[in-house]
Symmetry: C2
Subunit: 391 residues, 2 copies
């Protein structure tokens, strides 16, 4: 890599929300975002824009969410409901997309209402990693790019000179990492390598608790009046920007970019999308053409004949068990990862928890004086609150 | 494979116990073993021998287990304690192994007592799979060997002829498996491929919840009086056999084989033993010579200069999260696996749970009229009781 976050981080859509049922999700995301807000207000521009999330639902879909939503409201989560009529007026969206033959074939759902989340938006991911890199250097940290972390080095505490040591009866630990042929030694070694973690961890028999899955983004230009109008729609946020909008079904999403006058389009497919580590994953033209495009245009006819001017693909490190990050220490090694696609919006909290693990503290102090029990993200006493607001 | 269970099953030590704190472990193992007992009593010899497990402990080690042990006793679990003196007399074991310099270097623990579990022993794994195969054929099942299950076949419910379909908006499912170039179609497809599961599941983006890790066994002949005496020790079981014996630390185990007049020696190493799929894993001579041998002879001097006449290696499919099997259905596919080294002793129960998943029943009837909630071994509502009797 040639700089910070140049793996999959830079390929992210860079969206965040502080709107979850699960306290695990909420604490991690909300404290991170509040910290980012402070950084930005302190003068380091992170490109935070609170454009909001707009989830579109049919009545049936929404009904299933209402119990968890009302519980979240009690806890102080803010949202607004937009009526079908309002959405049709503002977004010129086809609220009856499910009622055509194509709609039925594609398993679409009508738009009966919209759930708008104000505490959500976008962040400039490059700026975010630049901020942390600068802070790390300021503390005396040293950073190297363009070098290859080849393997973790395990050594016995007491070297005996036996061929092939350490053996299992020897106390042994990770003493560092071989980087471009040279061993960099450390008291504790931290692996936070995203989807590449398994390449380092498998050889020493430690599970990364995650698998890589490709995610793709397609950029379409707002090159006509109807698309410009959609992009600059008023009434949702102070930027007069279309919110980050998620279609009812399948949950194709539209991320507006006012600076570039574009829309980023994506869909996180699950079944039949391989788990497979790729250093340079490629976007698939047909994924847009036959996957996203027909769904998108069924709801937003404005996009008719709109084809990508740019596209790319990255990978999520997916924890299929509970979709939450893992942070744990074993034999001198600290593993931080498996963020399952929410790594950026939770990064500050995850970092503080990793630091607490390093210093062997039981609780991590998240930004805003919220305390988080470190073992909750560990393996042996893992305690994750299940996300009930699943859409 | 040339027959049933010829992957890693046939390479197992074939040991079982019905002695667990965790009800998940207990129900799965105990109901399976009780079924195997009935099969054998019904005339199909499974080679079941109730030689028992003998765990050796230092006082300190044992103290930590006492709370869970007394809870297990309340629930009816049977065990006997053998004193240090008794063990020294019967097994001619060095109870002070920790007190030499080598003992200290190898982190050994003294033998202060032995915990003997009568409801435990060995099983002829080949016979077990032969039994199930015969039953399956009797029910009309068809079996093929020497063919390669190349890939799971995913198809949309409604084929539209679009290049690259199915797309994510299409309802699609696993319709079968490509076997040596030909698609075998099925209403539901079951993958129970052990460590090879990930090769079939990764391409369709389903997690196997397990990773392969090598396990090795070394066979030493009872070729002298002292070893013969150890093998045929009286007072533990009706066979006058040494029980399956597990050393205090590291937990090297000794599996006696009266028919062959041998001992099988093994140790399940964890840290620094790679996760890596191997079709034909090899035993490592040095693993015996420098790993097992010095530990073994520190406790059992009878094995001095004893070297393997045979050895082999297989692989466990390890679920690092909770070390329990997974059984779940997704889009026409049923996944059964991740048994983490306890697959044989739980196989009957796992099979019944898989059958319940197939028939979409909420509970599986295990042997002996014990009911097991199917979703407890699933992913979404997984509910595993943690094993507190961890040794």
């Amino acid at each position: 890599m040639s700089g910070p976050g140049r793996g999959n981080t830079a390929k992210s859509a860079g969206m965040f929300r502080c709107f979850f049922y699960s306290r695990t999700n909420y604490y991690l995301a909300d404290s991170s975002i509040e910290f980012y807000r402070e950084v930005q207000e302190g003068g380091f521009n992170l490109g935070l824009k609170w454009i909001g999330y707009l989830w579109l639902f049919s009545e049936n879909q929404f009904k299933k969410l209402e119990p968890s939503l009302s519980e979240m409201e009690k806890r102080g989560a803010e949202y607004r409901i937009h009526s079908k009529e309002e959405l049709r007026d503002k977004l010129e969206i086809n609220v009856k997309a499910a009622e055509t033959e194509e709609g039925r074939i594609m398993n679409l759902e009508n738009v009966d209402l919209g759930l708008f989340i104000p505490k959500a938006g976008k962040i400039d991911v490059d700026r975010l990693v630049e901020f942390y890199e600068a802070e790390f250097r300021r503390m005396g940290g040293e950073v190297r790019y363009g070098v290859n972390a080849e393997e973790l080095v395990v050594e016995p505490k007491l070297k005996l000179g036996i061929p092939g040591e350490p053996y299992f009866w020897q106390e042994s630990r990770v003493v560092g990492v071989r980087v471009s042929g040279k061993v960099v030694r450390a008291k504790k070694t931290i692996v936070a390598a995203g989807v590449w973690a398994e390449q380092l961890l498998n050889p020493i028999g430690i599970d990364s608790y995650s698998k890589p899955k490709k995610r793709q983004l397609f950029v379409v230009k707002a090159d006509r009046d109807k698309l410009k109008k959609l992009l600059h729609v008023k009434g949702f946020n102070k930027y007069d920007s279309m919110p980050f909008t998620i279609l009812p079904n399948p949950r194709v999403y539209v991320r507006p970019d006012l600076d570039e006058e574009t829309f980023w389009l994506g869909y996180a497919d699950d079944f039949n999308r391989p788990f497979k580590l790729e250093d340079d994953p490629q976007p698939e033209e047909n994924y847009y053409r036959y996957g996203i495009y027909p769904v998108l245009t069924a709801y937003f006819p404005q996009f008719a004949d709109a084809y990508p001017i740019n596209s790319w693909a990255g990978q999520y490190a997916i924890n299929s068990v509970d979709h939450q990050p893992v942070v744990f220490e074993e034999n001198g090694l600290i593993v931080v990862g498996a963020a399952s696609g929410s790594g950026i919006m939770k990064a500050d909290a995850i970092g503080r928890i990793a630091a607490a693990v390093y210093f062997e503290e039981e609780e991590a102090q998240l930004y805003g004086d919220r305390w988080f029990k470190v073992s909750d993200l560990g393996i042996k006493q893992r305690r994750i609150e299940v996300e009930k607001f699943v859409i």
